[in-house]
Assembly symmetry: C2
């Protein structure tokens, strides 16, 4: 049975790394001691070691051991043996390219299908959808495909941002961008605001956190859903 | 000799389509009557016809005829015979995919090298750089490559946006994104604010408009350049 936590962001404004999620992570990873951390997305280009150390510090407070996937000579084998998996945020293109390079997509899919708990934040959440086609990130490297882990039958837009009132900037709003996505793709997109996450348990997909999420379905007006809504029918 | 105008945006806040540029476009296209418009980027997903009609209206006021490239059965041949070329904004991935699909990259490069005046706005400017790796757009389709027209030996970031003071959003600022780009790429990036454009005449590249532009060079602190600065050495 799948156990997946898909968070819009790792960090809330004014908060520390992962702190708003720690209570839930205790439950999410309750049966395991050790989590493999995938640092490939490299936020701000920090090294795999720097990133892993930051994650270690946060998980130390809930007594979970973190090991960076980059420290294994055979990352595929390391993931096959993982008790739990955390994919952190950063750049979704860099992350996706690395997952393909090391041939890890199917490995992660199999593990998660078989019950290994998975946590994703930001870019690590983006890849939980069907494709990375609704990332906000800059395409700083060219991955061999935009196809992603497909844990859920729709796309994720993390860090969902409402239009900024009185903005004079002429770049597209997030809503406009997702509507453009739907001119070329038909799967739903969920705009997850910072502080929201999805909990996937088996076939159940539930919106968590205190905020509404914005749902974009093909050829429909976008709409809001409340926390604790189940999204099992969204596809 | 190359004659290229690379504009950050087609439209200023509160203005009409292209109006802030029209005087310059009169000069830019002074020797020709007819311009082929490439509508492939489809802003907000509008049709090629809708987009072309909008462009026709703007160019009508300076007595230039606009023909949409989509109206030709052989777009490659149409471009080979073009007097002038305008590539409009929208989604850079959609635009790039279409240019590769119809095998137009080399055709446009050859034409422009031989003196056909080119105008790009937004996505149409993005593709003037070495790659589309510094676009702000959502990757809603998968192009066969991120390599672009390479009219200038650096990358363009149109709609350049300074960090928003007091923002509580945790998504990356534009500057952070471009710095991440430089963890994986070495070419300079020019952040063109809305209202700025580059004029390329032969080997001369000059910043135009009333605003400074922000230059990001690999392993250097970003810096500002003033209007009318020549960027011939930037590579």
């Amino acid at each position: 049975m799948k156990h997946i936590l898909i968070a819009s962001t790792s960090t809330l404004h004014g908060g520390n790394y992962l702190d708003y999620l720690l209570d839930n992570l205790k439950t999410h990873f309750k049966n395991i001691d050790q989590i493999i951390f995938i640092p490939y997305a490299r936020p701000s280009g920090i090294t795999h070691d720097q990133y892993t150390n930051k994650v270690k510090a946060a998980f130390n407070s809930i007594n979970k051991e973190i090991i960076g996937l980059h420290t294994f000579s055979n990352p595929k084998e390391a993931l096959e043996n993982a008790q739990g998996i955390f994919v952190g945020g950063g750049n979704t293109f860099v992350l996706t390219k690395a997952l393909y390079k090391f041939d890890l997509i199917k490995t992660i899919q199999e593990k998660v299908k078989n019950g290994t708990p998975y946590l994703g934040t930001s870019a690590g959440s983006n890849i939980c959808g069907l494709t990375i086609g609704t990332t906000n990130d800059m395409p700083i490297v060219y991955p061999p495909s935009f196809k992603a882990l497909s844990f859920v039958p729709f796309n994720i837009n993390p860090h969902y941002l409402d239009p900024i009132v009185d903005s004079k900037h002429m770049g597209e709003t997030r809503e406009t961008r997702i509507k453009e996505f739907h001119k070329f793709n038909t799967q739903p997109v969920i705009g997850l605001r910072e502080g929201s996450w999805l909990e996937v348990n088996g076939e159940n997909i539930c919106l968590k956190g205190n905020l509404q999420a914005r749902i974009f379905e093909h050829n429909q007006e976008p709409y809001e859903v409340d926390p604790n809504t189940y999204l099992n029918e969204l596809k």
